[in-house]
């Protein structure tokens, strides 16, 4: 290859490279300017709320201690205190009625949110069995509202209510 031909090829490659870089730039610029920090915060609060809602709705009369612990692991403040105080009652009732509940989250969204707090709505269904259902699973439909607070970079639930 002659020097002249070589520089032609190099020149053509350089022009191609610039064209590709411009194309990449245009594609990215045409995209939404997503607020990454906001998106990350929402995902983190939402994931914590999902875990807590599922833990809260799960019942297994043979394994209540572990299930209550799972709820408390994601709880704080008044909700944690109240739930901890109900450990015996919850366990006794679950055992007495041979209750099980297997929940799933159908939809979940985040309401008001700032640096340290978030409100999350959860639509969940749970398949419930107990001495009253005669061994058959019954599906229950729930609407939950969770209030979460950020403590040491973890989102914890300090209020959980059924929405009427």
């Amino acid at each position: 290859m002659g020097g002249r031909a070589g520089s032609w090829v190099a020149g053509a490659l350089a022009i191609l490279l610039v064209g590709l870089l411009v194309a990449i730039g245009l594609v990215i610029a045409s995209r939404d300017d997503v607020d990454e920090a906001l998106t990350d915060d929402q995902q983190a609060a939402a994931a914590a709320a999902r875990a807590e809602a599922l833990a809260f709705l799960t019942v297994d009369h043979e394994d209540m201690d572990r299930l209550v612990d799972a709820v408390l692991a994601g709880a704080t403040g008044e909700f944690a205190e109240q739930y901890a105080a109900q450990r015996e009652t919850l366990t006794r009732e679950a055992v007495r009625t041979e209750a099980t509940s297997v929940p799933e989250v159908v939809a979940l969204g985040v309401g008001d949110q700032d640096e340290d707090s978030a409100t999350v709505l959860v639509a969940a269904n749970s398949t419930v069995t107990n001495t009253g259902t005669g061994g058959e699973g019954q599906v229950r439909y729930y609407r939950l509202r969770l209030e979460l607070v950020r403590e040491d970079d973890r989102w914890l639930t300090d209020n959980l209510q059924f929405v009427r």
Partner: protein, 173 residues
């Protein structure tokens, strides 16, 4: 000679890398597409801004209240108000749903009030959004011994058309 060859090799590598990057950015659909997204912890969600989040939650509250409530006495106005907040495709589905309501609601003097209890964002780009809404629907009418109350959960999809957010899908869960 040697330097020209080195230049060509370097440029070839860079061109290949740029081409691969272009293919990658073109194939990544970006945020706001996923039709199957129903939860705000889905890895594909986006929140484009606080302003958009607020706007789509407010529009959802308005739109859901209008779409799920009506009175036999003001049915035409109620339907017009609901349609105004919908995309054309959603209007057609809404019209089909409401087609049967006209006769029966006049006969039974049906009044349905839809109270939006709360809204929460699932995902929002600058053109598409999804919002979870809890609606309490109270129905009264001559055919009912007493009013009924439904505690509804609705996943609302919105699209921005001509600067306006409109409801493009109502999915009762």
């Amino acid at each position: 000679m040697v330097s020209s060859r080195r230049w060509i090799a370097t440029l070839t590598v860079l061109v290949c890398a740029a081409a691969a990057t272009l293919v990658w950015v073109l194939r990544d659909p970006g945020p706001g597409v996923g039709a199957a997204i129903s939860s705000a912890d889905d890895p594909a969600v986006s929140v484009v801004s606080v302003g958009v989040k607020q706007a789509v939650r407010e529009r959802t509250a308005e739109g859901a209240a209008a779409a799920y409530g009506y009175s036999w006495e003001t049915l035409a106005e109620d339907k017009a108000a609901a349609r105004e907040l919908m995309t054309t495709a959603m209007q057609e589905r809404y019209d089909r749903t409401m087609a049967g309501v006209a006769t029966s609601s006049r006969r039974d003097r049906t009044v349905v009030t839809a109270e939006v209890v709360d809204t929460a964002l699932v995902t929002a780009s600058s053109t598409h959004a999804r919002v979870l809404v809890f609606v309490n629907q109270r129905t009264s009418g001559a055919d009912l011994a007493e009013p009924t109350l439904d505690l509804d959960r609705v996943l609302v999809t919105l699209r921005r058309e001509g600067g306006e957010w409109r409801l493009s899908e109502l999915d009762a869960l």
